[in-house]
Structures are given as C-alpha cells and as structure tokens.
Symmetry: C2
Subunit: 264 residues, 2 copies
C-alpha cells in the first residue's frame, strides 16, 4: 500500500483543501500526523493489524522511522531509505534555503500567489536541488548525459529546474516544514536512543553513499541505536535524487536488500 | 606579498571605482586578469623576476593555478589550497545559486541598490554558505560551539549570515562570476592536460577533505596531470571555510606542508 503524505499536492493539501484551510491558510503538519493517519487507515478502515514491511525513501524514511518507534509491534520489518530518524541541524538549514527561495519572493504573498508569477522562484529552488540533490561526482562523470542532456547547464535547467517549475509553492512549503522537523525522539521526551531502542522490527538502514544532506555516517550512527538492525548503504553517484530511479544499479541494490529482508 | 584580487571591495571594485565603471557598471573580470596584473606589479613595479612560492586558498588557488600555467618559469614552488585549476560544472551551479540570491531580489536593480535594502538577500546568501561552506560533520559535532554559539541556528544567523550581511552585493557578484569561470585550459585551447603539463614548479595540491564544492577527488585528478606534484589533502570538518582558520589543527597542517615544500 502506498499512501500520499498529507500536504503533498495529491493528499489533502494547500492546493485542493477547502476554506478555511486552503492556500496560504493550510496548517503546519508533522511526520507523526501522517503516520497516525496511516495507522488509522490501516486499522479502522482496512482492519489490518500487522504489516510485514514498512519502507520509504526520504520523507518516506522519516515516516518509516516514526512508524517503527510509535507502533513497534505493528510490523516485522522496516527499511528507511535515505532519511533520518531525527533530522540534522545541517539538513534543517538546507531545507530552510529551499523554503527561502519561495518565501523571499514578493510574488509569494504569504501563500496567495499567482502560480505563473512564482515560476522564477520555483526554478531557483530547482537549482538548489542541482547543487545538493545529486553529487559533484555525478557532474564530474557527466552521468546526466544518459538522460539525453549534452551539458550540465542543459540538464540543470531542462531537467531539475523544469521539474520544480510546475510545483505548487504552498505544497513545497508544507512538505519542507514537515521534513525539517522529523524527529522520533518527540515520542520519548527528546531521547533519541530511548526512541530507537523501542524498535522491535528487523531494520535495514539504507542511506545513499553520495547523499549530500542525509549523510551516510549520520545514518550509521542512528542505525547503531536500533537493536535488531543492519547497515546497508546504497551506492550511487546520483546522490539523494537517485530515489528518482535514473540509476538501474541503485534500483538493483534496493531490490536485493529488500528481498533479503523479506526472506528473513 | 599579498595582493587583493580585482573587484573584491578593497582592490579596484564596483564600490570604489570611478564612473563609468562604478556600481552596476563594473566590468566582468577573470582570474587571468588578476594574475596578469600581479605579474606586472612584480616585474614592472618591483623588478622581481623569480618567486620561491606561490600559494593561495579558494580563489587564491585558482590564481595560483593560473600563475603556474601562464608563467611556468617564474616560481620554484606552488601550493593551491582548496580550489580547482578548472572549475567544475557542479561548482559553477553552486556559485550561480549564490549569485541568484542577489540578482533575484527586486531591490538589486542591476547593481544600483540601496545597501540596507539588500541585507535580507545577503543573509540568504549567507545561509547557502551555512549549507555548503562547512560540512554536515561540523554541525553533527557541534564544532560551532567552540566559537561561542550554543545552537546551530545561533551560529548560522549570528556568524555566517552576519558575515555576509555587510558585504557589497556588486563585489560578491564580481567575485562569483570570476570564480565560476576559473580555467587554466583557456591557455591551451581547452586542453587541461596540456595546460597542467606545462607546469615546472614543484606543486603541493592541497584540497580540504570535507570541502563540499572543491572536492578532494576532483583535486586529486587535477594533481595527477601536474608533472612534479604531490597530493597533500588537509583534514578539517570545517570544510571550505576552514580557510577562515577557526580550526587550529587545519592551520598546523597547512604550516607543516608549506614548511616541507619550502625546504625542498
């Protein structure tokens, strides 16, 4: 089962919610709100009381961590991919720079904007993703040429900036605010070791080696706090946005680890 | 001898040049313009025809590379610290995001601004430096606390943002445009191996291991193209802005390598 996160533009979000929570009035939402709603969906709506595997990438990893800490008896296995149990200070600041590309634009008007006027700001956010979303190694190897772009500039503008140019700014702000504050230690009064010590699932912690903001070493330090866990880093020069799946080798690694986890 | 680079706010720059090259009319300048001017200063003004050592960090490294390629007989030794001979595509894009914080602000007015109105844009640029200028490891270890800041936010705002808040936007744009285009292969029709193959000086190539935009591995690949060179990476979790000197251990490494180089 794949559930859209709250505020992402497809689930209930700033762009589709009714008054009084539409547009710039959409409320702040946390990772735990997603997980609580998903729990309710599974139990009350579908009558499911046990999951074999919880898995997700990026903010999906944040949700995975929240799941295994908040409902430790609910799943047998879990695999957070490229995300933290408790967000880092460095990543918080990076996410702030993303949000600032939008909020600093005078056309934003506290969330009550004309979408067309926000395109330059959205492209500036896209360009930050060019810097942090892949890796210097990807650019050095010109791996973007496999996607049909001759130059880094053509890729940066034609792929990444265009990807963000059509997004809804309020949706990006909702998700970024939530992403910044992902932290399972909110379940245990700020004690991360206590929170991760609760986990009963068998966990494969799967960072991406070239990820520039969910850092492999930070993920390893969290993995060490989880009783029944293994460290399974994924190798791709595509960095965090390897999650898009442009690197077949990366997808093969994910499949291999998940198959092994499911076979245990 | 320490020479300010053209356009940096102390040498002839947008903020101090007379009409018709003041403010937003200040011309684009390249690394090679700096090096040609420095050569003229040394030879025509001081009558110096030989240097023992050329050394510089960041854009100073770019100038160092330009020196040893353009005037290969002029120095016996050289040490580029945390910079490239030919700038990378990834770094070009990072630098563009810095420039965009300024040029996207409606108060910029093509370089004819009121400085006070540019402070928010300058702080946004400062925050990008928080993301890319240090390293995730520095934040994880809370090394900023040694500078007297209790929290990452206090450091990010009180140190880095304030550092940039007082800078002249045109000066930053002049330097960033120059930084983006540093490339010694302009001396050899685009052939980097031919350019670095010219070098006669004994060279220590000294990247910073946690530098997020002048990457250690990219520096190593350039070092391999320099005939009489050694790879001497510097270790500091402060990343690129370790150049500021807040890490005594980093400064000790620089001293040790330079002393060894001078003793050869």
């Amino acid at each position: 089962m794949l559930v859209n996160q709250i505020g992402n533009g497809l689930s209930t979000s700033a762009n589709n919610a009714p008054e009084p929570i539409s547009g710039g009035h959409f409320p702040k939402v946390r990772i735990e709100d997603d997980v609580k709603a998903q729990y309710q969906l599974l139990t009350a709506h579908f009558g499911i009381t046990q999951l074999e595997l919880v898995v997700g990438g990026s903010m999906g990893a944040q949700q995975t961590y929240e799941w295994i800490v908040r409902y430790p008896d609910f799943m047998r296995k879990a695999a957070p991919i490229a995300g933290y149990a408790k967000n880092s200070e460095h990543d918080f600041i990076f996410t702030q720079t993303l949000m600032d590309t939008i909020s600093s634009d005078p056309h934003f008007k506290d969330g009550f904007y004309d979408q067309a006027e926000m395109v330059p700001a959205l492209k500036r956010q896209g360009n930050l993703w060019n810097v942090m979303g892949y890796s210097p190694e990807m650019f050095r190897q010109k791996a973007y040429q496999a996607l049909g772009f001759d130059t880094a500039e053509a890729f940066a503008k034609g792929f990444t900036e265009e990807y963000f140019a059509v997004m809804d700014p309020n949706v990006l702000q909702t998700c970024a605010w939530k992403w910044q504050r992902g932290d399972v230690s909110r379940n245990t009064g700020g004690d991360l070791a206590a929170a991760l010590g609760r986990v009963k699932a068998k966990v494969f912690v799967m960072p991406i080696d070239h990820d520039m903001f969910f850092i492999e070493e930070d993920c390893r330090l969290e993995q060490e706090l989880i009783p029944n866990s293994e460290f399974r880093p994924l190798k791709t020069i595509w960095g965090h946005l390897g999650l898009f799946g442009m690197d077949k080798g990366y997808l093969d690694q994910v499949d291999r680890h998940l198959k092994e986890l499911l076979s245990l």
